[in-house]
């Protein structure tokens, strides 16, 4: 049964144009920024493997948009009701959706992670960007996990809000404004910032260090894998909450 549902969700996802546009932007934007950083930036951005992932947040945000669109638009267009007509228990259909969107995220994360790293190596052939250490591998390969859970978060938010406009507003304001602004709250701002989910994702891939110095952040409260677990837990909690609400509510 789940294979049927995975197939259905795959057809849904790739039979409209928006996901293709999102994917293109989600790849081009971080790669282009990475190339610019490495070509133009001075000593403030040293050429390290971690810093090749500085622009990955752009791709992550676009993936978040993709996941919200793919899910919330189903409520807007009524196809969610058709889905529930076809799968009255609802939960398997929603799980299939998060698996398909999450898998797409994981693949996108690989492309962005290795793409950014590869492009940076091309732009600065003299820098030592070889993947010798576990940390270096985590920076590049780890994007796959970060993007996977980013997609899960997008599906979860969309299930909770059930509206494209509302969902996009929330994820964009969160990623583009709130997480960055909170740090400026006097006193506690810097501590709150260190627990922001996408900051946690950056810490996991080693792309969070760039801002830590100038902002005067305290030492990170969690290690990289701790941060990944924290980020994953938040995204899965969003999804589970979304599923519980959607399964119970009148469609």
């Amino acid at each position: 049964m789940i294979t049927n549902l995975l197939r259905a969700e795959r057809i849904k996802l790739f039979s409209t144009r928006a996901p293709w546009w999102c994917l293109a932007i989600a790849i081009i934007a971080p790669l282009a920024f990475t190339a610019l950083f490495f070509a133009l930036a001075g000593p403030e951005i040293p050429p390290t493997v971690g810093n090749t992932q500085l622009a990955s947040g752009n791709g992550r945000t676009v993936l978040l948009v993709l996941a919200v669109l793919a899910t919330a638009s189903e409520f807007n267009w009524g196809t969610m009701r058709l889905t529930f007509q076809a799968v009255p228990s609802r939960v398997p259909a929603l799980v299939a959706k998060v698996l398909v969107v999450g898998a797409l995220g994981a693949v996108l994360g690989l492309v962005v992670g290795f793409g950014s790293w590869g492009l940076a190596s091309l732009v600065q052939p003299d820098a030592d960007l070889a993947l010798h250490s576990g940390a270096a591998w985590r920076s590049v390969l780890g994007q796959s996990l970060v993007f996977l859970f980013t997609a899960v978060a997008g599906v979860g938010v969309a299930l909770l809000l059930r509206s494209v406009a509302f969902g996009l507003t929330v994820v964009l304001v969160w990623t583009q404004v709130l997480e960055g602004v909170l740090v400026f709250i006097p006193g506690i701002g810097k501590h709150i910032y260190q627990w922001m989910p996408f900051h946690a994702a950056d810490e996991f891939v080693g792309a969070g260090g760039f801002a830590a110095g100038p902002l005067g952040l305290a030492p990170a409260p969690l290690g990289p894998w701790g941060y990944l677990g924290y980020f994953a837990a938040i995204t899965v909690a969003l999804f589970v909450a979304g599923v519980l609400v959607t399964a119970r509510r009148d469609a």
Binding site: M1, S15, G78, T79, Q85
Partner: protein
């Protein structure tokens, strides 16, 4: 077969469906009739498990909808033809829906052909006309070759040709032994389509039975008589039957036209007209649902001056 038993659904303080009990039989087109806001769509959603009833239950072929495995193979439904992504092609819309219930792509081509959309299968739905969207919705309902079919206002906004097409399709489906349950707020359309009838108003059952019985029961019978000798006829009818006079014509109730003709002949009254009145179906329906219209229009518009004075 669809069996609803004391089905009740409330939204806050409003009771949309109120202890509704009815049956839609297989092999018949059952019309589901009621004014706008009577609870037809809510009932349809309850049948499909999209909404959860507050009380009562509804069974499809003896089983609650939510307990069906691959429900599209048992129940096909078109509640709203606009439930589709406009940027997706008609074929892809059917393909994903078919995939959920493990229905092969071959069947997608079959239903596209059935509704005459094969040539526009690759076209995005936003370019479809209203009639084409309606056909796509019907194709989606037919995907699983279901024994039970539900259509909510399928002819809304269609041209006469489209209406005729849907009417023939519904008849054909019922003739194959399927249960066809189709809602409408328009009785004349229903009169040509449905064999059985379920009428609701304000969420309550008003009538269940065959269309023929409905017409017979609710039509106001009477006989219209015009005569050259009104005084003779009046004398002959008095005490024999109820009658009213208006514009030089009698309307007699409680007596058939044969008897009235004989009576007039015996009284020596020359008749110019003797015609039984079969009340129009529309009138019967309006009479029945008059008290059940949710958003009633005042019978006569009030004078503008009194409105302005308030």
């Amino acid at each position: 077969m669809i069996e609803a038993t004391a089905l009740t659904k409330r939204y806050g303080a409003t009771t949309a469906v109120d202890e509704l009990t009815f049956t839609a039989r297989s092999g018949r087109v059952t019309g589901f009739l009621g004014p706008n806001g009577a609870g037809k769509s809510t009932t349809m959603r309850l049948i499909l498990g999209l909404d959860t009833p507050d009380a009562g239950r509804v069974l499809v072929d003896g089983v609650p909808y939510r307990e069906l495995t691959d429900p599209l193979r048992t129940v096909g439904a078109m509640l709203d033809a606009t439930w589709r992504h406009p940027g997706r092609s008609g074929r892809d819309h059917l393909r994903w829906l078919a995939a959920t219930n493990g229905i092969p792509d071959k069947r997608v081509e079959e239903v596209l052909a059935l509704v005459g959309l094969t040539s526009v299968g690759k076209t995005r739905v936003l370019q479809y006309s209203l009639g084409m969207q309606q056909r796509l919705g019907i194709a989606a309902a037919m995907l699983g070759d279901p024994r039970v079919l539900l259509f909510d206002e399928p002819v809304n906004g269609l041209d006469p040709e489209g209406m005729a097409w849907i009417r023939q399709l519904l008849h054909a489906l019922a003739a194959e032994g399927r249960t066809v349950f189709v809602s409408s707020h328009l009785l004349p359309e229903m009169a040509q389509t449905a064999q059985d009838l379920v009428v609701i108003g304000r969420g309550r059952l008003i009538y269940q039975g065959t269309m023929d019985e409905f017409i017979a029961q609710t039509s106001e019978h009477g006989v219209r008589v015009r005569t050259a000798h009104a005084d003779r006829l009046r004398a002959a009818l008095t005490g024999q039957a109820e009658f009213t006079e208006a514009d030089g014509a009698f309307v007699v109730s409680g007596m058939d036209s044969d008897r009235i003709g004989q009576l007039a002949f015996d009284a020596g009254a020359t008749l110019h007209e003797l015609s039984p009145i079969t009340g129009s179906l529309e009138q019967a329906y309006l009479d029945l649902t008059r008290d059940a219209v949710e958003f009633a229009v005042p019978s006569a518009p009030s004078a503008p001056s009194s409105e302005a004075a308030r």
